[in-house]
Each structure stands twice: as structure tokens, then as C-alpha cells.
């Protein structure tokens, strides 16, 4: 079993719902994102083309962030999800440097409105979902939802309660989640049918996130 995701760039409307819903669900401090949307342009007027890439941790099969971790805080589960044990993380930031997709961040709490103290939302988040300052954080494919859903007999990618928040939030249904190793799963089928590709395969990390480019 290897959890993975397909992002259909053709369907993506750049609404940032994935980025916002993830930030909200995990009470992420200012400046920290597990999901991002980047936009670039190529060409010259009038032949300009816009390229949008929703980004998240790719949970690479050959993850450099796991190799470089000096404390074994970064590790890969059997189902392919790359996780961080925050009680072991020493905050050396080597994993942040090593990630070619730059999907890891070091936690530093700061006020959303400097000088005015933390607002109620931030205070609730720091209590309900605290982060250890100085440690690395990143997307974990909503593994709490995944694990709880599997215990209840739900199917991640099909049952919303067991599916990552960003997948549920997408209004254009641009994201599909499932088991890449199951040839009959929706995500595996779509990857084949739409000829989806990994982002920057020359990085040689074998990501678990695929993109439909055209």
C-alpha cells in the first residue's frame, strides 16, 4: 500500500481552498503552510501562458529528508507517508535544506498582528494543536483522519471522513487521493488514463503526488 495523490492542473481554478482549509484544520502559525499554490507565467505578450501548481509534501519514495535526519525523527511509514516525530526533532533544519520541493518549515510562533498579542483563534490553536518551536513541520496526508477512518472501515479517497482535508475542500474536484499500489483504485486509474506526471522527476525522489499537466 502506498498512499498518493493526483492533482489535475487542468481542473484547478486557483481558488486556494486547499491552502486555506489545511491552514485552518491544523491551526498553522503565520508564515507556515502545508499546502501552497504557486503561479508562474511563460511567454511574451500576447502569447502568455499561466502555470499553476498546487504544492504539498510529495511523500517521496526516496525521500532525502529522511536520509539526512540525524535523529531519525523523520521517517517513512510502511504505507508511504513521511512523518516527523517532533519529540525527537532537534531542529537542525537539514531536512528543510534537503527537500528539493521546499515543503518543510521550522516552527516559529509569531503574532498574526504584531504588538496586539495572540487572538482567540491563535490561542485556541496553540492549545488544541500545539507545535514544538524550533522543530520541522510539514503535510502528513492528514494521517490522523486516515488512521481513524481505516479503523472505522472507511476508504480514504472515497469516504470524506478518511480523506485529506485539501482533497475534500477542492470545489473543482481537482484532487484525488488513494492507494497508488492498487491498480484498480481511482487515483491509479486516473494517473494512467490522464498520463499524469511527477513534478520535477529529475530530482530522483519518486514523489507520491502526480500532476495532470495538459
Amino acid at each position: 500500500m502506498r498512499w498518493g495523490m493526483l492533482i489535475d492542473k487542468v481542473r484547478c481554478v486557483q481558488c486556494y481552498a486547499c491552502q486555506v482549509s489545511c491552514k485552518q484544520a491544523y491551526f498553522l502559525p503565520p508564515g507556515i503552510f502545508f499546502n501552497r499554490v504557486i503561479t508562474g507565467e511563460t511567454g511574451r505578450f500576447p502569447m502568455v501562458r499561466k502555470h499553476t501548481y498546487p504544492l504539498l509534501c510529495n511523500h517521496c519514495k526516496d525521500a532525502p529528508c529522511v536520509d539526512v535526519c540525524p535523529t531519525n525523527a523523520s521517517y517513512k511509514r510502511e504505507d508511504g507517508i513521511v512523518l516527523i516525530d517532533h519529540d525527537k526533532c532537534v531542529g537542525c533544519k537539514y531536512c528543510i535544506m534537503a527537500c528539493p520541493y521546499q515543503q518543510r518549515t521550522s516552527v516559529e510562533y509569531s503574532e498574526q498582528y504584531p504588538g496586539q498579542g495572540y487572538n482567540d483563534y491563535e490561542k485556541f490553536g496553540m492549545e488544541y494543536h500545539p507545535y514544538q518551536e524550533g522543530t520541522a513541520v510539514k503535510c502528513n496526508f492528514c494521517r490522523e483522519r486516515l488512521d481513524e477512518g481505516l479503523e472505522q472501515g472507511l476508504v480514504p479517497g472515497e469516504d470524506r471522513a478518511a480523506t485529506p482535508v485539501c482533497v475534500n475542500a477542492c470545489p473543482a474536484k481537482a484532487r484525488t487521493f488513494g492507494d497508488l499500489d492498487d491498480a484498480d483504485s481511482k487515483v491509479a486509474r486516473l494517473i494512467r488514463e490522464k498520463n499524469a506526471q511527477q513534478l520535477r522527476p529529475e530530482f530522483n525522489t519518486d514523489p507520491s503526488v502526480y500532476y495532470v499537466i495538459d
Partner: protein, 333 residues
Amino acid sequence: MHVKPWEWMVKPTPQEEWIEGKGLLSWLSFFSVALGAGMYFVATLVNYPWAMVAGYIVCLVIGGGTKVIDLGQPKRAWRMLLNYDGEGGLLDAMLLLFKSPKRFFKMFLNSGWRTSWISRGMYFIGLFAIFGLVHIILAFVANPAATSGIAALTSVTGIFAIIMAIVSVLVTVYAGLLIGYVRAIPLWGSALMPVFFIVSGFVGGAALALAGRINNAVTSAVIVQWLQVLVLVYVGVVVVYLWNAWNQSGTSKYSVRQMMKAGGLLSIVFYVGVVILGILLPVSIVIVSMVSAAATAPLLAVAIAGVIIGDLSMRFLIMKCGVYTPLITTSPY
């Protein structure tokens, strides 16, 4: 060299964790560790105990200390050496030696050293600290007559000298391997990175060792010979490294261009720090010292200062100009 938020990973994006704000300590740490170990190595070869002490302090106190301070959770630094899965801290981990010796030794075997250069570096520095302390004590108390010639190699001091020479090389080179492993930054992911670190560590170390013996004709002559070779090798390595980066990929070429682009702070550091003070000045003095046998102490002092400033500047530029390849696949980089 900041990117605007909408340009993040759309254009070459500089790394900031190891050079901005508190990250400056990482730059100082990598420099000090290599410089200190290089100085220790040269001092060992010329049997100069006080320079060994200075190298030891620079490497461990300044180099090691700045790195520990830079960590997000410095109290957990011991975890880079031990893979402890239980609850509790270092004391509980150490008590396993008595409770479960097999599990205790497995903590070392299963630690991050298997794949992480930071963990390996911590082990090298640990060996440097332990063996270096013993070696320094022996170097001060040993009879000089007994530690010269072939007999020196078989004496206890001589054996520790050999061990420390090897460990010093490992400590000098590990940061280069650590940075060179980061393929995500094309400027860094080069086989020349460890070569640069080891050569620059020895050049800086030799320069500092010379600074202490500048008025000692015998020792300074030996160190000057070392410097003459090392400075020229260093210049060659820097030139080849930059040439390789220029031709390796669009992103690494962008990095080199940022160093050389006139008008910015980085170009001042490059042309004044690296080119003039770090290369032209020491090379000129080396040539003078080769042509005329007398290299006066003031000239040597200037060369030493130039080498140190040049090395510091080059490492600063490597950290500052390290950029990530944009993720937009149609990017020209």
C-alpha cells in the same frame, strides 16, 4: 537576495535557514569547525602544541558551540548520536547500559550516522574532542627528543598524532560532504564541495598556525612551504568550483551570477573578499616568498589575514547564493 512571496519557487529561491538571522551561526559553525580542525592538523605535523590547543578551541568551542546554539531544540543534541526510542531523556538512555546493554549499543548502531552527515559529523567531532584532549596533554608533557624521527611514530604521542591527523581530516571534510549532499541546491550538490572544504580548512589552519610562529624561523619556514602549496591549490579549487557551477545547470549559473553581479553586497564580498584579499593578495605574497627567500613577518601577516577573510567570504557566498531550482517546469532555470 530575497524573493517576493509570489516568486517563491517560481524563480530560483535562496535558502534562508542556514544564513539568515540565527542561521548565520550555521555559517560560522561550518567555517570554525573546518578552520579549527585544519589548524590542529598542521600544528600536529609541525609539533606545535599551542596551535593544537587553539585549533581545538576554535573547532569545538566556537564551531561546535555555534551549531548547538543554532539548533531549534539544543537540549536534544545528544539524539544525533543515540537513537533512543523510550520515554525520558539522556539520563534514561545512558542508564540502559546497566539495564539492557544490548539495547544500549543498538542505540549507537541505529542512530542517524547510517545516512546523515550531521550525525556522522557529531561522531567525528566527538572523537576529535576525546583523542585531541589526550594528544594535547601528551604533546605538552612528552620529551621532545623522544617524539622526533621514526621513533616518534611508535611512541604513544606519535600514535595519537596519527589518530588525530586522520580525525582532523574527517572533521575538516565532513561539513563539505554535509553540504554537498544537498542536491536540491545545485551550487552545493557538487563533488568539489568536500574538496573545497578540506583545502580551505587546511589553508586557513596553516595560516593561523603560522600566525603564532611568525617569528620562529624554523617552524615558520615549514609552514610557509605548506602555505605556498596550499594557497595555489586553494585558488585552483575555487576557480574550478565556480567554473563547474557556471556550466552545471541554469540554477547554479544563476547562483554564480548573483555573486559576480556588480552593485550588490554579494559582489563586494566576492571581488574584495574572495578575489582581492583571498586570492590575489596571498598569491602575490607567496610568489614573493618563492622568488626571494625572505618573506618578512608583516607580509606573512597580511597574507594570513587575506586567506582568513577570503575563506570566510567564500563560505558566506556559498551559503548566501545557494538557490533552489524553481518548480514551474517551464522555467528557464
